[in-house]
């Protein structure tokens, strides 16, 4: 099994998400995360799909994506040097005795507190998957009440 980040440029039109997700569900491919957003071209969207599978299946996934009529381009980020980032919002229990410790972790990881209440903090963190997982693991003991993750987005690194 290997984890691949696929950047998929698609025509921005109704049903395109369903074509992609239907391809994955219909053929039993796994989706770890899927992120969709606009690009600089108004009628083109970028989907970033993270999937794990044996290499032969990854090859099938890429070919099947390319076969979809609404897909313009598929890039396997694993074949390039790429920057990968994910953002997460975490709502964490924060009582008087734990607040300072939580803020220290926020500081160490260079996260941000984006909302505060008497007994909880909402924290914004971003980074590659390992970093995001590490923050979540560290904050778990305080009690994470809610979590929202964007899934991975990625760009090829500039040529040096």
């Amino acid at each position: 099994m290997s984890r691949h980040v696929l950047s998929v440029l698609v025509e921005n039109e109704p049903g395109v998400l369903s074509r992609i997700s239907g391809l994955f569900s219909g053929r039993g491919f796994n989706i770890e995360s899927l992120n969709v957003g606009p690009t600089l071209e108004r009628d083109v969207s970028l989907m970033t799909i993270v999937t794990s599978a044996p290499e032969v299946i990854i090859e099938q996934i890429i070919k099947q994506l390319r076969k979809l009529v609404t897909v313009i381009k598929v890039v396997d980020m694993n074949e390039h040097k790429a920057v990968e980032r994910e953002m997460v919002l975490l709502k964490v229990n924060a009582v008087d005795t734990t607040r300072a410790e939580i803020l220290r972790i926020v500081d160490i990881f260079r996260c941000k507190v984006v909302d505060v209440a008497a007994d909880e903090l909402t924290i914004e963190a971003s980074g590659n998957r390992d970093k995001v997982e590490a923050i979540i693991d560290l904050l778990r003991r305080f009690g994470i009440k809610e979590i929202a993750r964007t899934g991975t987005v990625a760009l090829k690194r500039s040529a040096q």
């Binding site: 049903g15 239907g22 032969v56 099947q64 009529v69 609404t70």
Partner: protein
């Protein structure tokens, strides 16, 4: 000039060279039907069920190589066509399906006869469209035909809301289509072609394994030239029958679950397998790990997803089969490969001849004066037609016998539901083929079970004077399922006995067609002759051996070497 959506549709069909439409009207498409009589170049065939319309369009496409066209209404009209759309999808048949849709303001409101047909057919079309803007209608139709016929062909559905059909806009039809997101690669890499030829020349035991891709690319002549010049034997999938002459010495017959002994043995023993336009389907390969265990594999296919999907490939060639085989031929003619440097494979051909002689396709009891053998019926059809007919089949035993005991010499003479295995396909497909070739003999080899799935199209055949011949191999069973029950389920014949079938002769007559029944083996030939000479549609109800099995058989999941023989 400003035209309505309905007018744009019909004008565009004419631009695409469409001459026949198979359809069924309804509320959402009345505007199209209102306009249709003003376009005599477009002949509409009113079917009796939408499944008949899509199969007929599919049969028309298979027989001609052109894009078939089907027109149905929204809701149930569209859903009734879904089986046939999936059928065309799995066999890569170019069809464009126009479905009516409720007016766009009502979409999503559960309106009367509303269904999200674009959503439903997304996984079983090559592509589909919902046209919400009339100014994009002509462009969409052009794209639909372009996508359906290019690359690996397939069905494309265009959903037409009623208000779009009624609005008006200036009309011009695009002269050509270019799409940034759809550019099928059809040209082979010439280095790969050369590598393939070198491998063929060096091989001791090469084998062509060809499929429907050779037929859809019209590459049969190139295949035949290469096989004969290089002396490489040929086997084909069900979909590939007709791609190579069925009476050639190099012909091995079909391979796979009900393939010939020689074909399956050749696959298991070959040292080079040249797969062309075939996709290593489970019915062909049997147990994958033991399939062609000694072979280097060359795989030519226009669809990159077919390559390395099921088996690993040594020389992948993503290309239209015509371009690839034609390219190899060219290389040989230029003397850049092949010529004079090739092995003759003499031992291999001797071995194959021995397999053919030892285990030919056969059956017991062909000389029984009491019981008609279904295989003998198919053989008789072949004797009478000499292969000069279009054979369609239903699905099951009738289909396998039609594949085994009839020699197909030219492409597009066997129209059969290969991938989806759709019972009820054969008769409407025969109607579509007969529309395309009014003077050809078109025969549906049917079973008593399958024929009842689209029997309502008798009215269509009679109404339009389409002289399709239906030959029912009537054994009173859903024979293929019964065969599996006999062999693998302790003869538990649950729900496979079809005792309460109609009287097919009376049924033919009730529709205004001709009907014959045969119970005596001696009368099979004369009755078929009479039926084939009859100017209108005929049902020939032939009472055949009830518990006859299709052999050879490779049990599902077994290796091709483990064949059950007669």
């Amino acid at each position: 000039m400003e035209l309505t959506g309905a007018q744009i549709l019909l004008e565009s069909l004419k631009k695409e060279g469409v001459d026949s439409i198979f359809g069924f009207p309804g509320g959402a498409v009345i505007d199209i039907y209102d306009e249709l009589p003003k376009h005599p170049e477009l002949k509409h065939y009113l079917v009796r069920h939408e499944q008949g319309a899509i199969h007929a369009a599919d049969g028309y496409a298979r027989a001609t190589g052109k894009v078939g066209v089907c027109l149905v209404t929204s809701g149930p009209g569209a859903t009734n066509a879904v089986t046939g759309i999936a059928n065309a999808y799995l066999d890569s048949i170019p069809v464009v399906i126009f479905t009516g849709q409720v007016p766009s303001p009502l979409i999503g409101n559960d309106a009367f006869q509303e269904v999200d047909i674009v959503g439903i057919t997304r996984p079983c079309t090559k592509h589909n469209y919902l046209v919400k803007d009339i100014t994009k209608l002509a462009q969409t139709i052009a794209e639909a035909f372009y996508i359906a016929r290019t690359g690996r062909p397939g069905p494309v559905l265009v959903d037409l809301p009623k208000d779009v059909l009624q609005q008006v806009t200036p009309y011009s039809y695009p002269k050509s289509v270019t799409m940034r997101s759809y550019n099928p690669n059809t040209k082979p890499n010439s280095k790969q072609l050369k590598r393939a030829l070198d491998l063929i020349c060096k091989a001791d035991k090469p084998l062509f394994y060809v499929g429907g891709g050779v037929i859809s690319a019209n590459a049969h002549e190139e295949l035949t030239w290469l096989a004969r010049t290089l002396k490489v034997p040929v086997t084909a999938t069900l979909m590939g029958l007709g791609a190579f002459p069925g009476n050639d010495d190099l012909w091995l017959g079909m391979l796979g679950m009900h393939g010939t002994f020689a074909a399956n043995q050749a696959v298991q023993e070959c040292d080079l397998l040249i797969a062309v336009g075939a996709r290593f389907d489970d019915r062909v390969t049997g147990k994958l790990d033991t399939f062609a265990p000694n072979a280097t594999v060359i795989h030519v296919d226009v669809d990159p997803t077919s390559i390395r999907k099921n088996v690993s490939v040594d020389v992948p060639i993503v290309s239209d089969c015509m371009q690839a085989l034609g390219g190899m031929k060219e290389l040989m003619e230029k003397g850049e490969a092949g010529k004079g440097k090739c092995k003759v494979h003499k031992q291999w051909l001797t071995q194959i001849a021995a397999w053919k002689a030892d285990h030919p396709l056969t059956y017991n009891g062909g000389d029984n004066p009491e019981i008609i053998k279904p295989q003998a019926v198919v053989e008789t059809i072949y004797q009478l037609t000499k292969g000069d007919a279009i054979i369609t089949t239903e699905v099951g035993q009738n289909q396998m016998w039609a594949a085994q005991f009839y020699n197909y010499h030219t492409p597009r003479t066997l129209l059969t539901s290969g991938g989806l295995g759709t019972m009820g396909f054969g008769f409407p497909a025969a109607i579509g083929a007969q529309v395309a070739f009014p003077d050809k003999l078109v025969i549906d080899v049917a079973g008593d079970g399958s024929i009842q799935m689209c029997i309502q199209e008798m009215a269509t055949a009679v109404c339009y004077g389409l002289p399709v011949k239906i030959v029912i191999l009537n054994n009173g069973y859903l024979g293929m399922v019964r065969q599996w029950q006999e062999l693998f389920y302790n003869k538990n014949y649950c729900a496979t006995c079809m005792d309460y079938a109609p009287d097919f002769v009376l049924l033919a007559k009730a529709y205004g067609a001709e009907g014959f029944r045969v119970t005596d083996p001696k009368k099979v030939k004369s009755t078929l002759q009479k039926a084939f000479a009859h100017p209108g549609p005929v049902i020939v109800d032939i009472r055949v051996a009830k518990e006859e099995n299709v052999y050879p058989m490779v049990p599902a999941g077994a290796s091709l070497s483990e064949m059950l023989l007669v």
